[in-house]
Symmetry: C2
């Protein structure tokens, strides 16, 4: 029942998926291995212990289904406490560290944001991401210009890859914001 623990990325991925639809450990493994969420582990040694931890923290609750002509399976659902935890996760402002570690976790937060907390939360997250990216990209550009000219070509190109990747992400962020603006406009 201890809530104030740090939840790893896999835990949030599980919470988000379970919020969308209650599922068993096996269902979740199939999602990770068959869809484009393959960056998360689909191994039972990762998922079952993770589900156990989430349950111990009171964020999900599993109920064993054992109907006739059915295999025994335990279906997990997000509790009210779990939902609050996801919302807090989504509402976190995007930091520079988030950018350094790579955008995957922020994008995961965004992917769940609309279902969990509504379009306003999605837009909020995008704005925070845009701000963080602007600073990050410009600092990378400063670093790029300061790089010694005698550096090997591949080193410089690799750095440019990082700059370009973050710039592409920034472009996407603005594109996504525009999509929400349009959606809003279309409704009114």
């Amino acid at each position: 029942m201890n809530s104030p623990k740090k939840i790893p990325a896999l835990g949030y991925a599980l919470l988000g998926l379970l919020h969308g639809k209650p599922a068993s450990g096996y269902d979740l493994r199939k999602i990770f291995s068959s869809t484009s969420m393959k960056s998360y582990s689909d191994s039972p040694g990762a998922i079952y212990p993770a589900l156990g931890r989430l349950q111990k923290q009171g964020l999900i609750r599993g109920t064993i289904e054992e109907g006739a002509g059915m295999r025994r399976r335990q279906v997990f659902r997000v509790t009210a406490k779990g939902l609050a935890e996801i919302k807090k996760w989504i509402a976190r402002p995007v930091t520079r560290d988030d950018m350094v570690r790579g955008p995957q976790e922020v994008i995961l937060r965004f992917a769940f944001s609309e279902m969990v907390a509504g379009p306003a939360a999605s837009v909020e997250l995008l704005r925070s991401l845009e701000a963080a990216l602007q600073l990050y990209v410009s600092s990378l550009n400063v670093e790029l210009k300061a790089m010694p000219a005698m550096m090997p070509t591949s080193g410089r190109l690799a750095f440019e890859c990082g700059v370009g990747g973050n710039q592409a992400l920034l472009d996407w962020t603005r594109y996504a914001l525009a999509a929400y603006e349009q959606k809003k406009g279309g409704r009114s």
Copy 2:
């Protein structure tokens, strides 16, 4: 001295840096914390054990420097065996799994490739990356078109982010290849 063990990404990052210039654990920590390689841990609890493992495998060798008026420090150098290991790592063909896990490790390989194995190896790696990315991007596009239309906006946008990021990476790969072509042409 056991060589046929799996080396984690941090180990290769250390090997590559040490190949460029012999350094102590503290030097390496500073590189990770001050330059744009912040995605790797700069904590002593990660780096010193990693250096110890590499040394036990015979890939690096540390010598204690203790001159007068100098603090004691252990400087590590890559051995011949270590160099062979980096080369093997760089020459690995790029797989689909490399793309799923994210391009960071492949880009790291590329960053070191020129210093360690020469421009021909860099070009070879880029070609392998280009081939892997073409397949990966087109399969993502197929998945995108097959996505149910009723999906929440943020889910679809997040997926598009992944597609766009990989497309940007593909563009960069071609740009890098062109840079090497030009370099070659400029010399002849």
